[in-house]
């Protein structure tokens, strides 16, 4: 007993002060991208040619935008650009309520708004989630899992991953929704009591990611289930996921 107390004392309290205190992520982290339109040539398509997921789009006027639902944050576009028109910041806040909001053209991002009043009164202080990996590679799953560790301590916000859809208020889906997992995903959703919410995490769940348009995948959750929160990344940093969840339940307002 004494040894347990001593070891606890030595290891100390590890939970971060987030969201009361802001968090700065280390330099190799690539967060929300920014486009410097003054540097971008209308006729140049170098970034589009190297992007593995066609996340970069140019409209008729040659104006570039980045679709965060597809972006892998792989830096290929940044490295291919001769004019440094694309930069990746340290900003991890990227979750949105609609997929349309994830298309960055004017470097403005409408971050996720809280749930509607009625549903927020039910889930705002206690949100139980069932995680379904619909053909995921375990990267997004690992970054969700880490939210349960003492440093993030998801439980202090009333959010918890549960072992059955019957106990859950919402689904958190990762993976591109492979054909083999589609039925299981739909059955899990049906097993959830109403009202229920759906959260899609990672480029695969948002758009099919690197597996997009493969014959065995359904290009993400949209079109199969109604999605309430989109969390981009490949995989998203745990802070991106936490930020998205807290915005959804109204614990981060700005």
């Amino acid at each position: 007993m004494l040894k347990i107390i001593l070891e606890r004392f030595r290891q100390k309290h590890r939970t971060s002060k987030f969201p009361a205190q802001s968090v700065t992520l280390p330099t190799p982290y690539r967060g929300r991208p920014f486009i410097n339109h003054d540097f971008c040539y209308k006729g140049c398509h170098k970034c589009q040619e190297v992007c593995p997921t066609q996340a970069l789009i140019k409209n008729e006027d040659g104006k570039l935008s980045i679709d965060l639902s597809r972006c892998l944050f792989c830096l290929e576009c940044k490295n291919a650009c001769l004019k440094n028109a694309i930069q990746f910041s340290q900003d991890y806040q990227m979750s949105t309520r609609t997929k349309k909001d994830l298309v960055l053209s004017n470097n403005e991002l409408i971050l996720a708004q809280k749930l509607e009043k009625e549903i927020l009164s039910l889930f705002g202080r206690s949100l139980k989630l069932r995680q379904v990996s619909a053909g995921g590679c375990n990267a997004c799953e690992a970054d969700c899992n880490v939210l349960g560790t003492p440093a993030y301590d998801l439980g202090r916000f009333g959010i918890q991953f549960v072992a059955s859809p019957r106990h859950a208020d919402g689904l958190l889906i990762t993976g591109p929704v492979s054909d083999n997992m589609k039925e299981a995903l739909l059955k899990t959703y049906e097993a959830l009591p109403t009202p229920r919410i759906v959260i899609a995490v990672g480029a695969c769940a948002l758009s099919g990611g690197i597996f997009r348009d493969h014959e065995e995948v359904h290009n993400g959750v949209e079109g199969i289930l109604p999605v309430d929160l989109f969390i981009p990344g490949c995989p998203p940093h745990p802070m991106t996921i936490l930020d998205g969840l807290l915005r959804l339940i109204g614990k981060i307002k700005t």
């Binding site: 040894k3 290891q11 792989c74 290929e76 990996s133 053909g135 995921g136 590679c137 799953e141 492979s178």
Partner: protein, 212 residues
């Protein structure tokens, strides 16, 4: 981080030093926490003789990774196919009893030897380019190729087939969990239902991967 043909970032000296510092701190915490396990009579009582697999069973079902090594099987891609002598200094961890305790001890011992291996490897890093995606354009056409990697759950098999133009036509990965789920099923026979969570966590298998 990873990209075809290399990695996205170099490991410069400042980052190496920070990395080694954090690794040391993480090991100190893990060591302190895990030693509480070994000293706790109630934990040891639950671990010992629970979810036992014999060496013969492990061999017959083709068990891989730490659960195989906990049954004293000398099965590790790093040692079995170490043609470049990369892992000659790596100290392997083996258990005898094949139970939850043996699997826990193998994992703990592997933590220690992995940290030693990483420390040594990082200190002796030679100055090579960290990114060479151009090599990817030189794949042989119409070829089947496979490789084995020792992941943290055990042996991972990668198989790739290229087409006429040397582009990848098909790629399949077999996860170590694919072999080890049957080991979990086998070790639960004749056991109490309350042993399931213990055995489940002691195998720590993947529910996703690309097998579904």
């Amino acid at each position: 981080m990873l990209l075809p043909g290399g990695v996205n970032f170099d490991l410069e000296q400042t980052r190496t030093l920070e990395f080694l510092k954090r690794l040391k701190a993480a090991w100190k915490d893990a060591y302190g926490a895990v030693n509480l396990l070994w000293q706790s009579a109630t934990v040891m009582d639950r671990f010992e003789n629970t979810g036992k697999l014999s060496t013969t069973q492990a061999e017959e079902i083709g068990l891989v990774g730490p659960p195989a090594r906990a049954c004293s099987l000398k099965r590790d891609v790093r040692k079995n196919y170490d043609s470049d002598q990369l892992y000659k200094n790596l100290v392997m961890a083996y258990g005898q009893s094949g139970d939850v305790l043996a699997r826990a001890q193998v994992r703990f011992d592997e933590c220690q030897s992995s940290i030693n291996f990483i420390e040594e490897a990082v200190k002796n890093l030679e100055d090579h380019p960290y990114k060479s995606p151009d090599n990817l354009n030189k794949l042989a056409s119409n070829t089947l190729s496979f490789s084995l990697v020792e992941g943290w759950r055990g042996e991972i098999c990668h198989a790739a087939i290229t087409d006429e133009e040397g582009k990848i036509a098909h790629y399949k990965i077999v996860d170590p969990s694919f072999h080890n789920w049957f080991g979990l099923a086998l070790c639960l026979r004749e056991q109490e239902i309350s042993d399931f969570p213990l055995c489940n966590k002691s195998f720590n298998l993947s529910y996703c991967g690309f097998d579904l």
